[in-house]
Symmetry: C2
C-alpha cells in the first residue's frame, strides 16, 4: 500500500473523504446522464496573487501525488456514503473500483507562479477528475501559502538560518505540512518532531521559560541544561533580567556556550547589547538566536543586527497575512461526447463578479530577456511557439494513473532557490507591488 503523505507520523490508507459532497453528487448525475465518461481537462490556477505579493511559490505537489495515489473508497467509506445516502448504489459501485487512471502535469514543486499560471493540469474522464478537486486544492492552497511566506522570510534573512517553530499556532497536522512547505521555501530546520519524523527535516530546540521557572534559581536551570545538553546548547536569557542572565550563562557554560536565545523586547537593541556583553565576556563564538513574533519585515529590520538565527512561528504558519492561496480547480476543456476519440472543446464560466476563466488546455513558459532574467510568464493554448519550447514549465507528474514525478524534498527546495534567483531583483522587495512578471496570454485565434 502506498503512503498517503499527509504529514502524519503514521500512514493513512485513503484520502477519498477529503472531498466535498457535491463532487459525488455531480458524479452520480453525470453517470446517470452518460456524461461522466466524457474526457475532461481540469486546471489549477489563481486569478490573482495575495495583495501586494510579487510572486507565488508552488508547494505541496509531492503531497498531491501521494493523495491521488491513495484516493480509494474502502468498505468503511462506502458504508458511510450509503448510510447517509450521499449517492446511489450505481455510484457506490463505480466508487468501489475507483482508481485515478488519467494524466497530471504541473509546475514542479518549488517553482514560482503568477496569476493565470496553470499550476496543475488533470486529465481523464470527467468522473475521475472531478472527485479530486478538494483534496488537490486543500494541499496546494495551504502549502503554497506557507511556502510563499517562507520564501519572503528567507530572502529577508539573507542567508542566516531560519527555524520553523509555528506548530503551536496551527492545526497539529497542518503544522507538519507547514514545516515541509517552509523547508521548500528556504527554512533550515523545524521545532516540530512530526515533521522531522515524516520528512527528515532537521529538528532543533533546547528550552522554554518554564524550564527556568521550574528551578529555584536561573543559575540552577542553566546548570541543569548545560549538564544534560552540553556547553554548546542554547540558553534562554529573557526570563528575568537579560544582562544578568547572559552573565550567568557564560559563567555556567564558559565561552564555549553555543548560543543565547532572546524571545521578547526590542530585539534590535537587545541583540546589540547582548553581543557586546558576550564579546566582553570572551564568548565571541556564542551565537544569538531571536524568536519573538517575527515576520519578514522584522527579519529584514534585523539585517544589520548581530543575530545568527531567526525562529519564526505564527507569521510563518499563517502565511504572513495570507493563510491560503486562492487557487481554483476548473474544467477548461471537455470532449463533445463519451467517445474516447471525440475532440476536446474549450469551456469556461461566463458571468459577473470577476470570476471569468479562460478555457482551453494550456501550456506555460517563462520567457527570459537577453541576460537570462525572467521577463514574462506566457500562458497559451494550442502549439507552443518554437522560441519558448525550451522554457516550458509543466512537467509530467502522473501518467495513466501512475505517479512518475516523485522527487526528494531537497529537489523542490533547490528548485525554489534557483527559480527565485532567476526573477528580476524587484521580486524580493518586501514592499507591496504588482507581480514581478506579467502574465501574457497566447491563446489560439488571439493573433499571438
Amino acid at each position: 500500500m502506498g503512503v498517503a503523505d499527509l504529514g502524519l507520523p503514521v500512514d493513512v490508507p485513503s484520502t477519498a473523504l477529503f472531498t466535498d459532497h457535491y463532487e459525488l453528487t455531480m458524479l452520480q448525475a453525470a453517470l446517470k446522464a452518460g456524461t461522466a465518461e466524457r474526457r475532461g481537462v481540469f486546471e489549477v490556477f489563481t486569478r490573482r496573487l495575495p495583495h501586494g505579493r510579487r510572486y507565488g511559490v508552488v508547494a505541496g505537489t509531492g503531497r498531491v501525488l501521494d493523495a491521488v495515489e491513495n484516493f480509494r473508497f474502502d468498505a468503511g467509506v462506502l458504508g458511510y456514503l450509503r448510510e447517509r445516502r450521499v449517492v446511489d448504489e450505481p455510484t457506490l459501485q463505480w466508487l468501489a473500483d475507483y482508481r485515478f487512471s488519467g494524466d497530471i502535469w504541473g509546475y514542479p514543486e518549488g517553482e514560482v507562479y503568477f496569476p493565470g499560471s496553470p499550476i496543475l493540469r488533470v486529465e481523464g474522464s470527467f468522473g475521475e477528475c472531478v472527485l479530486l478537486e478538494t483534496v488537490i486544492l486543500s494541499i496546494l492552497n495551504h502549502d503554497s501559502a506557507i511556502a510563499a511566506a517562507a520564501s519572503r522570510m528567507a530572502s529577508a534573512a539573507g542567508g542566516r538560518p531560519l527555524i520553523e517553530m509555528g506548530a503551536r499556532r496551527t492545526h497539529e497536522l497542518a503544522a507538519v505540512a507547514a514545516s515541509r512547505a517552509a523547508y521548500v521555501g528556504g527554512f533550515t530546520s523545524t521545532s516540530d518532531l512530526a515533521a522531522g519524523f515524516r520528512y527528515n527535516i532537521p529538528t532543533v530546540g533546547t528550552s522554554a521559560h518554564a524550564f527556568t521557572l521550574l528551578h529555584d534559581r536561573e543559575r540552577d536551570a542553566f546548570q541543569a541544561q548545560v549538564d544534560s545538553l552540553g556547553r554548546d546548547t542554547t540558553l534562554l536569557v529573557d526570563t528575568y533580567d537579560v544582562t544578568e542572565a547572559v552573565r550567568t550563562a557564560v559563567e555556567v557554560a564558559g565561552p564555549e556556550l553555543g548560543a543565547v536565545r532572546i524571545d521578547s523586547g526590542d530585539l534590535l537593541l537587545v541583540a546589540h547589547r547582548v553581543r557586546q556583553q558576550l564579546d566582553e565576556l570572551g564568548a565571541r563564538d556564542t551565537k544569538i538566536v531571536v524568536t519573538s513574533d517575527l515576520d519578514e519585515y522584522a527579519i529584514a529590520s534585523l539585517a544589520a543586527a548581530p543575530v545568527d538565527a531567526y525562529g519564526v512561528g505564527t507569521q510563518l504558519v499563517t502565511g504572513s497575512g495570507h493563510p491560503t492561496a486562492s487557487m481554483v480547480y476548473k474544467l477548461v476543456a471537455r470532449a463533445e461526447s463519451a467517445d474516447p476519440r471525440a475532440p476536446l472543446k474549450a469551456v469556461a464560466k461566463k458571468s459577473s463578479g470577476g470570476k471569468t476563466s479562460i478555457g482551453g488546455r494550456k501550456w506555460a513558459a517563462r520567457r527570459l530577456d537577453a541576460d537570462g532574467i525572467a521577463e514574462a510568464e506566457v500562458v497559451g493554448t494550442g502549439p507552443v511557439p518554437a522560441e519558448l519550447a525550451g522554457r516550458q514549465l509543466l512537467v509530467e507528474l502522473v501518467k495513466g494513473g501512475e505517479v512518475v514525478g516523485r522527487e526528494p524534498l531537497d529537489a523542490a527546495r533547490e528548485r525554489h532557490a534557483a527559480a527565485r534567483a532567476a526573477l528580476p531583483l524587484s521580486a524580493t522587495q518586501l514592499s507591496r507591488g504588482e507581480p514581478v512578471l506579467p502574465t501574457e496570454y497566447a491563446t489560439e485565434g488571439s493573433g499571438n
Copy 2:
C-alpha cells in the same frame, strides 16, 4: 485503543510527535537534575483577543482530551528519537512508559473567553505536563480561531442556515477540525465528507460550474441533475446568464425546485432579482443559497435580502482575518521540591515586551448583573469568593490521567449558543471594539 480525534477518517495511534523538540530536551535536563518530578501547574490563556474582537470561543477541548489520552511513545517513535539523538537513553526509557497521569480542568467547549481566562489548567509532574504544550496549543489555537469566526457569522446570519465549505482553502485535515469548530460556533452543515464521517456533521452539496460546462447546454446539465438528484435539488444558476438560467431551472424542475445557488456578482442585487423572478414563475418555495466570498460583514449586509442560506469558505477556515488564537501554555506554579507534599509556589516570567504573565493556580468565574447578564470575567488565585462559587467556569476534564469530561459535540454547540446569549448585547456587534467583558483579577494578597 483509544481514538486520537484528529479529524481523520481513520484512527491514529499516537499524538506524541505533535511536540516541539525543546519539550523533550527540557524533560531530559530536568530528569538529570532531579526536577522533572516536581509538581507543576501549566495554564493555557491568551493575553489579548484578536484586534477588535469582543469575545473568544473555546473549541477543540474534545480533541485535546483524545490527544492527551493517545499521547504515547511507541517503538517507531522511540527509534526515531534515538536515531536522531533528540534525547538520551534514560529519557527514552522514561518516554516508553509515558502516560499522562495528572489532572486537567478547563473551560468547557463552546464557552466564551476573554484575555486572561484560564482556558485550560494542566497539573501533574513537570515532566509529564511539559510534553503536552504543543499538541494542546495546536488544537486550541486552531479550533478556537475558527469557532470565533463562525460565531460572528452565525450572529450575522440571524438564524438562517450556514454551510461550511472551506475545505479547499485550508490543509485537508485542518479542514475537518474547522468543520467541527464551525459547528460548535453555530454552523449548520458542511461540504466536507471527512467531517461528516468523523463527527456526524450533516453534509450537503449538489453541483459546481464544471457540471454545467460538462454538458452541451445548461438545460442538459439541469435536466441531468434533476433526473438524478430530484426536483428538490439546488441548481447553480450563474455559469452563463442568471436570468436565463433561473427560467430554465424552473422549466426543468418545475416550481418544486428546491433551491438555486448564486456564486458570483452583487449578491444583494442578484438575490432580489432572482427572488422576484422565481416568484413570478410560481416557484415561491424555491430557496436561494449564496456562496461567493462571504464573511460576517457580507452576511450581515444581506440580512434584508431574500437569502435562505449562506455557504462560507475561505473566510471561515482562515478565522476571518485571525487564523490563530494567541493562546500560550505557561508554568504558573510548581513545587519547591520533588516531594509530592511540597507546597506549590507561584511563578511567572518577568521581562520586557508585554509578555509578562500572572503566576499562581487560577480559578475563573463570570459575574452577572442583576438581570442575569454577564458583567465581568473574574480570574483569581486562592479561595473563590462565596458570591462567585456558583459561577465558576472551569470543569474537570481529566482526573488522575482518566478522561472524565468527554461529551457529545452538540453539547458544545448548545453551550456556545447559551453563553453568547448571556453576554451583553454589544458582544455581537461586528464593528471593532474592546472585549465585551472586562477581566478582573482577584489574586491572593491583592486586597480583592
